[in-house]
């Protein structure tokens, strides 16, 4: 177990390091001359040089990378070009907001897609199964902004059931916030639904087919006991790790959903930073997303191995 854990943590660190190199490289290709970009084409060359020197953007790339990454690890994510203020508080605030939206989406999608996936498996090959799978696949492939627009039209404009802005009035309580987050969460639910349901279905089919299920049936256990104690327990294992890997797709969707619903999360922060060519903010935002993903997939592996005694005791992958 300890070896498995250690190996897993080391892999996450390597992935994060590679990610930081990719992010840093992308952040350095275009700006070339950051001072010129900030001050505009008509600024005096001396002012541009002075600004570049002040921000340290005139040093060799390798030095800049070493400096950037060592500060980043210590929590200093640099200063935003656009706001002329430290990046870190923006990132923290945006992550907290996005976490709320993501939590609402996950709370809706996990029970829904597990139930639908199991239902499809229990009716495998029949119309119920086909319709759940086709609906799930279609929901997964339609871009969030398209389903978002259609949902806004139906529930926000025609029926007027839900607000079309995700930003709640100041002082809104838990339910007030939830009320504003419900509509933006649904496109994210649609995106995640198909994949999780598909995994739950596959896991259930495999468990239904297993020897231990046959044994349980043959020894006369009631059907509900077989289903809950033997089938679902094993079926939902692989689904746990899938749910965590979906975090990356969720965050990709946040860029669009937070823009569409005018919500100040990490997605809209990255989007605004990209529009303003605010590279420190953009790099920090993307790397923060990478960290969230790395932690989520690490957690998923831990939960998976904790739930699955074959890994807990066997120590082999």
């Amino acid at each position: 177990m300890a070896r498995f854990l250690l190996k897993r943590v080391a892999l996450s660190l390597i992935t994060l390091w590679l990610l930081s190199v990719i992010v840093f490289t992308a952040g350095q290709v275009l700006p070339g001359n950051v001072g010129r970009a900030m001050l505009g084409p008509f600024a005096d060359q001396r002012a541009v040089d002075a600004l570049n020197h002040e921000m340290g953007t005139d040093r060799p790339l390798l030095v800049q990378y070493g400096d950037w990454i060592s500060r980043f690890v210590q929590g200093d994510m640099g200063r935003s070009y656009a706001y002329r203020a430290p990046v870190a508080p923006f990132i923290a605030n945006a992550l907290a907001n996005s976490a709320k939206l993501a939590a609402v989406a996950f709370l809706l999608v996990v029970p829904l897609s597990l139930a639908m996936g199991v239902l499809a498996a229990l009716h495998a090959g029949r119309p119920v199964d086909r319709s759940i799978m086709v609906a799930g696949m279609s929901a997964t492939i339609v871009p969030e902004f398209v389903s978002g627009i259609i949902l806004i039209l139906i529930f926000g404009v025609w029926l007027r059931w839900l607000p079309i802005s995700a930003t709640w009035p100041p002082g809104a309580g838990f339910f007030g916030q939830l009320y504003h987050l419900l509509l933006p969460a649904i496109p994210l639910v649609l995106i995640l639904f198909g994949y999780i349901a598909r995994m739950a279905r596959a896991g259930t089919l495999e468990a239904l087919d297993a020897d231990y299920t046959r044994t349980a049936v043959l020894k006369g256990l009631p059907q509900s006991t077989v289903l809950w104690r033997h089938v679902l327990r094993n079926a939902l294992l692989p689904t746990v790790s899938v749910i965590a890997t979906q975090t990356a797709y969720l965050i990709g969707g946040l860029v669009v959903i937070e823009t569409l619903f005018r919500y100040q999360g990490i997605g809209s922060l990255i989007f605004l930073a990209a529009n303003k060519k605010d590279f420190p903010m953009l790099e920090a935002g993307v790397l923060a997303v990478g960290c969230v993903f790395a932690v989520a997939s690490l957690l998923a592996d831990l939960i998976y191995s904790w739930l699955n005694p074959r890994i807990r005791f066997g120590a082999t992958e």
Partner: protein, 294 residues
């Protein structure tokens, strides 16, 4: 296979049965309602992309400031947008750019992914280990975010969008190809080719590649759906196809601010067009997968 009599492929079936099998698979595909529905939708939009400009009643780019934001009527079946442009004509012609950029990106990504995947799966060892780590790092980020980052760095144009999406797809396709190659490389026909002293390039591209083609085809079709998804999303956030194109994602991004005022026709039809196209592509992928995997 220049000299068939000297070195017959030991395991391959006679040509007639290969052709028969191919015909059988094509027949299965053409009798699959999933595949046919998807194909009909995609063919419709492809036809619009090619012939749409000649057939639509109005110029999709022509402003008409006296007739802005008209609701659907007989003259304008889908209404007009805030510049008075005919929404119907724009929706029909709006498939052209996305149906150029997305397939090109998918094709490039498939090429890159196939070469990389063959190299990884066939060589294994340290090359595979290093490349797999890089692939994992790339996969740790959603395509949209990688694309956003790269497009800000490189500047937005159709070519950069194609390259960025292709680059994002390469590792994903490489992983599929690698898995397929790992299963194939232990088979007898590969061993036989090695005994004939064929080079690694010959074994990878002439012996193994045809046998891993079906999973690559499935992955490519699935990726095409995601490429359309990504291009539409990038256009919506302003980093994809640029104005004045009547592109669907771009139109939605220009008009969605108006829907609070009830001007639903400026975004609904474009949204339904995107949804139908991606679902169509995915139905095709589902149909092909059903035939390939039995």
């Amino acid at each position: 296979m220049s000299d068939a009599s000297a070195a017959p492929r030991p395991v391959s079936a006679p040509e007639t049965t290969v052709a028969q099998e191919r015909r059988e698979r094509a027949g299965q595909l053409l009798s699959s309602p999933t595949f046919l529905t998807g194909a009909a939708i995609v063919v419709f939009w492809a036809a619009c992309a090619i012939f749409g400009h000649a057939l639509v009643p109005y110029d999709p780019l022509a402003d008409d400031m006296l007739n802005t934001l008209l609701p659907p009527s007989r003259e304008h079946p889908f209404g007009t947008d805030q510049l008075g442009r005919d929404v119907f004509s724009r929706v029909i012609t709006g498939s052209r750019d996305i149906l150029t950029v997305a397939p090109l990106a998918t094709l490039l990504g498939t090429l890159g992914g196939t070469v990389l995947g063959l190299a990884m799966g066939y060589s294994r060892g340290i090359v595979d280990e290093v490349l797999s780590r890089i692939v994992d790092a790339l996969l740790a980020l959603p395509t949209v975010i990688v694309a956003l980052l790269a497009l800000v760095a490189l500047g937005t144009s159709k070519i950069t969008v194609v390259l960025v999406i292709a680059f994002g797809f390469t590792p994903i396709i490489a992983r599929t190809v690698r898995a397929a190659v790992l299963a194939e490389r232990e088979l007898d026909y590969v061993a036989a080719a090695k005994l004939r002293l064929e080079g690694p390039l010959h074994i990878m591209f002439v012996e193994i590649l045809p046998n891993v083609a079906p999973p690559i085809l499935v992955e490519t079709t699935v990726r095409l759906g995601y490429a359309i998804f990504t291009v539409a999303t990038l256009s919506f956030i302003g980093f994809g196809i640029q104005p004045p194109s009547p592109d669907w994602g771009l139109s939605i991004s220009a008009n969605y601010g108006l829907i609070g005022g009830g001007y639903w026709w400026t975004v609904l039809f474009d949204g339904l067009a995107i949804a139908s196209l991606v679902i169509g592509v995915n139905l095709i992928a589902d149909g092909i997968e059903g035939v390939v995997n039995g």
